[in-house]
Amino acid sequence: MLAINKINKQALIEYEDFLFMYVEEEEAFDSEKIFYVDAIIINSSSTRLFEKVLRVTRTHYDAEIYLKPIFCVQYEGLPLQVIERCDGLTDVTQYQKIARTTREIKNNVEKLFLQQKFPSNEFGVLYKTMQYLYTRNHDLVPFVDRHARLSYTYPFVSLQLEDEEQKKILDILKQGVRDGFLREEQMLDKVHICDACYSAHHNIRETCLHCNGIDLKVQDLIHHFQCAYIGPETDFMQEYTDDLICPKCQKILRHIGVDYDKPSHIFNCNTCSEHFQNPVFTYNCVDCGKISDIRHLQEHLIKRISLTAKGKQLVLSGLPKKTYESDSKVKEVTGVYELDVFKNILEQEKARTAFNPGRTFFGKVAVVDEKLNGISWKEKMILRDELARELKSYLKEYDMVTAVSAGEFYFLKLECTPEKLEELGELIVFNLEALVKSNVKDSQVVVSVNTQPVFHNQTIVM
């Protein structure tokens, strides 16, 4: 049943109907083969190897890969970072258990809607996390990690963001809770993070109220009942005896509660010689070096997180079309309409021209540039919005524009003459070309404007 094969250096294990990637050393790890295996087994006590495999896998864009099960062979002293982030500890004889877990995860992955586009990076991280929780069928339990910026590492999520972005994890999870996809369970801890770099690693100390010095000495105040003298303990202490002698009346203080008491304490700053009772507690951030009042530390609750029914539903059915297509709408500008709305208005306008012909014009603006093919979809959307706005700015308030894509726009010009329309066309061509050239490198854009009058019962091809 069990066969260990090697392709190049990479060891593979076939067990039942599964193929496991078996990693023992860094050099032999072939990341390109992850896609073809069902799970990864790491047999090494090296944290570095684990980190590498984990990072390559979990940060991949493909859900089939970032959700891949990873197992570790049990070694004595294996750090918490490994234990808490792998899908199970095993030994080389427990393939049955590995196969069972792999099967469960694989079945769950197959049920997922493999979403590729997200409204934002943060939502992408949230979505992937929900997928991870669904496929693992357990809660997200952060664990203490002295190497983590927040002092806590969230399995899976922490890997999705750079070290300096770790604070975003808390925001992303909170957003998930607010949206009803996640639920906060038991509180595990509180972290206090630097307001500059969001690190939870800092040194807290008492500092002088006046000079921020840290060389402080605290002393009890002694009150001698008999003569009402009160001062720091050193006023009463003697060089050669252990007696406490009152500097005012020279009496020996023998018995606390009878001769004297200690009603309070006082700090003395050895840097500036000032006295005070209430030092300022400051923190010195280990990561960014910021020194500030501890009141500026941000408190965050570390909680166990679970997936809600709504969250499960989301990862099974994917984002509603509206959500990820929201970017395809032109950002709201007065007078710029969606194509369907524009078509309706055009029909109404045609009807209106029966009584007022010759003063309404339909225009088509084409923006042709090969370079536009080289920019991303998101950039195209931004450019489209920009061009639509620019186009609308040359028209009157009651004129209408619609944007089909970054290269195709229509407009409806009301109450206009052919002469004015010609001038307007030139203006649009010149300015839109300038706008594209300033946004797209090496652009050879050609903008053309074609207009036609609108008549009753006329057919306009769009």
């Binding site: 105040l221 009150h223 009402a228």
Partner: protein, 434 residues
Amino acid sequence: MDFIIEFFKYWNYVGFGKMIRIFWYFIFFEFGRYVVLEFWVLFVYWLGRKRRAKEWEAAKQALYNEMPLISLIAPGKNEGKNIFKLVKSLNEQTYQNVEVIIVDDGSDDETPIIGRNLEKNGLIDLFIRNDMRGGKASAANLAWRYSRGKFLLHLDADCSFDRTAVENIIIPFYLDPEIGGVGGNVKVRNGDVSLCARLQSIEYLKSISVGRIVTSYLGIYRIISGAFGAFRMDALKKIGVWDIGPGLDGDITVKLRKSGYKIHFEPKAICLTAVPTKFKVLWKQRLRWSRSLVRFRLRKHLDVFLPHKNWRWGTFLGFVENIFYNFVLDIKWYIYIADMIINFSSWIWFLIPMNLALYMVAGFMQQLSLSLWSERSEDERVLWWYVPLMVFYVAFFLRFCRTLAYIKEFFWKASYRDPWNPQKSSYQALKNGY
């Protein structure tokens, strides 16, 4: 109407000689001391105003040339509601080289929060809190321990000050280097709240604003008020600062005198304080104040009457005047009343109105002198209406309170059981004869 005719007929018949026999107490002790002597001293004081003004300017110049640090200390318990007002008034001072130290003597109100906040925001220099109450003296001593100024001003937290108050209370130290302590002019801020406060307004004007000009001029000034008093720091160190109270302001003044320092009253250094507005509270306050005469003058500092290194006429006479007018005459008043009842019982209904009339006349004369000296005479004009009531206030309310305090202190040492001081301190003070 018949009574009035009879009244005048009677006094016409009695004649001047017998009037002296009947009103000897008033004529020799009250009118002589509080009207004749005071008018005479104030007149002489007024004559020296130009010389004093010149000396004052020179002293002021000397103060500003040196610009010494002045420590303003305000020890107290449960003064949270007053602290901000106090600090605001101190920040308005014309003399600014000051440090403000507030000691909270085990308050159970919001004082610690307010004090720490003021310290954190730099409005005061040091706020010290004793979690266990130690009494006013220990709180003042603690503030002194951390004071760095050349002069120290002891303030009550429920006071506020004229803008020039700090400057004016320090200048006398530059008039005479032998001065160890200067008392400020304490006036009533809440005089319009009740009749009780109104009467105290007049009393403070008489006994402090004008009375202390006279005693200071005569060199027998005996109490630097705890509400507003200034001390030379070295003098405080020499005398061992404050001892357990109550009555610690009078006690420290005597200690300064006994150590050879002069004491001065400065009428231009004006402080406004809040006085009790109810007679019941006032009664308790005066019981405490009056007990200190027995405790400090007749017990602790009785050695003033004996010859010693720093024996001075001024200190001696100040004690004599204090004991005579407050203690001896207090007893004598009861003898006088008995004399009236026994020897003039049939004419008592003519004696009482005459007695009251004489005291009222004296009261109005004193009020006239107050108006002449007060910088707020316009505001204080309303007090004229209350002068007749002062007869009853002084003759009965204050006298009965004083008598009771003397008896309680003389026979039962009541001041050592006063909750104003914590029991642990009072016990030690009693045990060690303080």
